[in-house]
Symmetry: C2
Subunit: 233 residues, 2 copies
């Protein structure tokens, strides 16, 4: 894994709560790899448009895909600036004071311009990266894409060059007077995400066993980030 | 609750998968009320910026808040167009074919211009709506905001006038040949979100009981939407 530091620019450098900004690439990878959807922002007709979409990461490239008919994807494929955000909500922070209430979260924001991937083998590779992210184990198990299916999907590559990561993973930051007064409970209510039991599609003509890549899947949330910052006791 | 239909415009009308677009206001309220953070999109220096932030809804108004120092909030307060998205990932859709893999999700996207709330009582009311959303029960329990704290926060109101809701809550939509072949398991792996056990802040000078509004909090995810579309069996 590359250990190159991120290269924040003015627009990717939050001008608030700088202490929450993490500038190492490993943290960026962790936040992206733990997510399932990103929010893709783009400017259409001078107005912002934000759309949720799936993605995959390989090295310092984020792959996005969508229908060739999607206006935002078409604009992105033509080189319009994009902004991609991936956010995890890890807990609700209950402070002694209302205005110190907050959330614990991990968030990555990437700015850049995307490049369409059109060459067949490169496109298949990018789709594999996205599939491995969304449904690891499905590539090689489910039916391969046909040429017609491939043609209907647009795949873009966005470099992870201009990015920022913000993490809040700690207790309330109350004022000393409020801590001293000890009149109000303070703490964190963690939010936990997990996969439930697989639900077979009712249209299977005979019941097939659920494959291990589905039954054994664990959610990618990284508990370490939270556990480290919120030690027991 | 208002039952007025939404008023989609070209930019809020997805031009793909129209069958997934829901145009009733109750669905919009459900998606927004089940969320914890939204993604706020705005145009800064001609480029899109997407930032996660907390919010609250009352009737047909979405309240957003943030530091008065946040550039995106300042631009939004000056009347720049904004786009706000709230997305829930409800499950991974494993199809017989790779290209029909998908996610089950509920997503709301709102377009409009926001108005800053500056009058003291209106601002307190908006902050109460946001607090009641983020941490119901904390208003009236935790210490009230001081004037200095109030001055440091910017609160915006965004009308829920131009909005769209998209929901996918069903099984894979495979091609008939793939269903017929019955060679590949198909189904949904649901994603479940829940609150864990509250973690008291270690700086409490003596242990206070965890208040009921924290211990009894249940996650707002609406299981009905999923259960209705994915019946048992």
């Amino acid at each position: 894994m590359s250990a190159a530091p991120l290269s924040p620019t003015p627009r990717s450098t939050p001008n608030r709560t700088k202490h929450r900004t993490v500038t190492d690439r490993a943290a960026l990878y962790e936040v992206l790899d733990a997510g399932l959807v990103c929010h893709l922002g783009i400017v259409l007709d001078s107005s912002p448009v934000v759309l949720p979409t799936t993605y995959g990461r390989e090295g310092d490239t984020l792959y996005l895909h969508g229908s060739t008919g999607a206006r935002s994807l078409r604009a992105a494929a033509k080189g319009a600036d994009v902004c991609v955000a991936v956010t995890h909500v890890d807990g609700i922070v209950y402070a002694r004071s209302l205005m110190h209430h907050s959330i614990n979260y991990r968030s990555a924001v990437i700015h850049g311009t995307a490049t369409p991937i059109t060459e067949r083998s490169a496109k298949l590779h990018a789709l594999r990266v996205i599939t491995d992210h969304l449904a690891p184990g499905s590539w090689g198990y489910a039916r391969d894409a046909t040429n017609k299916e491939l043609a209907a999907v647009s795949v873009l590559a966005l470099p992870l060059a201009e990015a920022s990561v913000k993490i809040r993973a700690t207790y309330p930051g109350d004022d000393p007077e409020d801590v001293e007064a000890n009149a109000v409970w303070a703490g964190v209510l963690p939010l936990e995400v997990a996969f439930g039991a697989p639900i077979p599609s009712p249209d299977m003509t005979s019941q097939l066993p659920v494959p291990p890549h589905v039954t054994e899947r664990r959610h990618l949330e990284n508990p370490r980030a939270y556990a480290a910052a919120v030690p027991a006791g």
